[in-house]
Every structure is written in structure tokens, then in C-alpha cells.
């Protein structure tokens, strides 16, 4: 799972206009991970961010559905909406195109 997440992260970083990847894992899981210890670190600490780097693209596989989520920061030199679609299409391409068994969420969290 980490390999897939890392591979997708590398691909997304290569899309023109993408300047940053943010942690896309759901907030409850981040809270649980932080609470689980990892040395008792507080949420948002440096180590917490470093730990989540391998899963910065969230990939959740269920019985019937795979959900991929990515949160990005984009530059203001290209259309944010166009970059959003380009990131989606690149990820979909890795899985052989669109499928009803898969959702791909791309969220632009900062521009500029």
C-alpha cells in the first residue's frame, strides 16, 4: 500500500502546476495515528508529518470499492481546475482508466 501511495505521490508531483502534496488521509485516522503514540507525539508535530510522508496519497481498499484521495497545492500560473483534472486523469490512467469500482478524489487546498 505504501509503495502504491509513494508511486502515486511521485507521479502527482510531476504534474505541471502541482507545487505541494498535503496529507490526504482522513482526519480521524490522522488523530488515531497521532494518539497511537508514535512516541506520544502531538498531532502536527514534525515527526507526525514525517511519518505520514509514505501515505501522503490516501489509498483505501474495500471489498467493492477503492478510494484514492490526494490533496495538493498548485501554483497560480496554470488554471487550478485544469491541474485538478490533469492529476485525476494521470491517476486514473495508472489503473487503466475510469472504473465504477474506484473513486479518485483530488482536492486543491492552496493556490499560489
Amino acid at each position: 500500500m505504501n509503495d502504491l501511495s509513494r508511486r502515486l505521490a511521485d507521479l502527482v508531483r510531476g504534474v505541471p502546476g502541482v507545487v505541494t502534496l498535503y496529507d490526504a488521509s482522513p482526519l480521524p485516522s490522522r488523530i488515531l495515528e497521532a494518539a497511537a503514540g508514535i512516541g506520544g507525539l502531538a498531532l502536527g508535530s514534525t515527526a507526525d508529518v514525517a511519518k505520514s510522508a509514505d501515505n501522503i496519497v490516501s489509498v483505501i481498499e474495500g471489498d467493492d470499492l477503492t478510494a484514492i484521495s490526494v490533496s495538493i497545492g498548485v501554483s497560480d500560473t496554470a488554471s487550478a481546475s485544469a491541474v485538478c483534472r490533469a492529476v485525476h486523469d494521470l491517476i486514473a490512467e495508472q489503473f487503466g482508466g475510469p472504473s465504477p469500482d474506484r473513486t479518485i478524489s483530488v482536492r486543491i487546498s492552496s493556490i499560489g
Binding site: G73, C84, R85, V106, I108
Partner: protein
């Protein structure tokens, strides 16, 4: 003293971000750099610093009323919150594409600040931004610098916001309302516009 709402800063405070800028963002703080809210706030803080430094230059800075700067800085943390998801359409029905409201407010603030002679305060999107094609209205508060013609400055802000929203989003912007709250003269207390 007005209490700041800093919930959009992922556990950080504007004071921390201000100190971080003072240090030239060195050493890099991974938690701040990994927070979209902090990134939006840092960019806005940098613009406010640049503008207020040039406006309140030299000795006059010590005697000037910096209250308007504090008000603008307070609004930065509010506007940095992620807020609602604004959809981006795609032909694939399984695609879930969006921009955060915080990202769009940051874009609006940057557009307004870029026109010169103006600093944007609070920014609000009225209307259901979560429904594609739904008309919305943008409201911004602005401080205009002394010597600027207020109607011209407001028009420049409006044009810049329309331009950038049209370029980056699919929002249907029905109106951009600009409310000028005060006029700032170099080294003097803020004045209420006529």
C-alpha cells in the same frame, strides 16, 4: 484585545507563523509547511508585511495606528480555514474533484492585494458554492491607501477577482462587492472614507 480564531491553522498560531517568517522560514518547519491553512496564511502575512512596511515607513511607523493591520491579520486566519468543498466538474462520474473554500478565499485575497493601493481584509463567499453552476456573490472588505481614488481602487479589485476566479474555478460569480472600510495615510491613523 480581540481574540483571534485560529482554527484554520492546524494547531498553529499567527504569532508562530509571524516568528517563522521573521526567521526566513529557516529551519523549515515540516508541520507548518505541510498545512494548507498555514501556507495560505503565510502568503497573506508576507503581503501585509510588505505593504504595511512601505506604507508606514521610517519614524512615522512608531506613531501610526496599526489597528487596521491587526484587523487584516485577524481576518487572514479566519479565511485560511478549509471551509466548504467547491466542485470541479469532470466527465468521469467517479471523479471527486474540488477546491477548498480556503484556497479560493486565498486566491481572492491575493488578487485584491495585487492591484496596488489596497489591502484586502475579510473575504466571504455567499451562496451555495457546493452546487456547480449556482450563482454566488463575493464580498470583500478593503483598506485603501491615501491618494487612491476609492471607486477606481474598488473597480480594480473587482476586475482582478473576476479574472482570477474565472481562470482558476468554475464558480458562477454574480457580483463582487467591495466594501472600503478605511483609508490609510502614510504614518497617520486610519481615517473613515467619505
Amino acid at each position: 484585545m480581540t481574540e483571534l480564531d485560529e482554527t484554520g491553522l492546524d494547531g498553529h498560531t499567527l504569532d508562530e507563523l509571524s516568528d517563522y517568517l521573521d526567521r526566513g522560514r529557516v529551519p523549515a518547519d515540516p508541520a507548518i509547511e505541510a498545512s494548507p491553512g498555514c501556507q495560505i496564511a503565510l502568503r497573506a502575512l508576507e503581503r501585509v508585511r510588505t505593504v504595511s512596511a512601505s506604507l508606514l515607513a521610517g519614524e512615522a511607523r512608531d506613531t501610526a495606528d496599526d489597528g487596521w493591520v491587526a484587523t487584516i491579520i485577524g481576518s487572514i486566519s479566519l479565511d485560511a480555514r478549509a471551509g466548504r468543498d467547491i466542485p470541479v466538474t469532470h466527465s468521469d462520474p467517479s471523479a471527486r474533484l474540488s477546491l477548498t473554500e480556503g484556497a479560493v478565499r486565498g486566491l481572492i485575497r491575493a488578487a485584491g492585494d495585487s492591484v496596488g493601493g489596497v489591502l484586502i481584509g475579510r473575504c466571504r463567499l455567499d451562496g451555495d458554492v457546493t452546487i456547480p453552476g449556482e450563482p454566488i456573490t463575493v464580498h470583500v472588505d478593503a483598506s485603501v491607501f491615501y491618494g487612491e481614488r476609492i471607486p477606481d481602487a474598488a473597480q480594480r479589485v473587482r476586475q482582478a477577482i473576476y479574472r482570477d476566479l474565472g481562470r482558476h474555478t468554475e464558480l458562477v460569480v454574480e457580483a463582487v462587492d467591495v466594501t472600503v472600510h478605511d483609508v490609510q495615510a502614510p504614518g497617520t491613523p486610519g481615517r473613515t472614507p467619505r
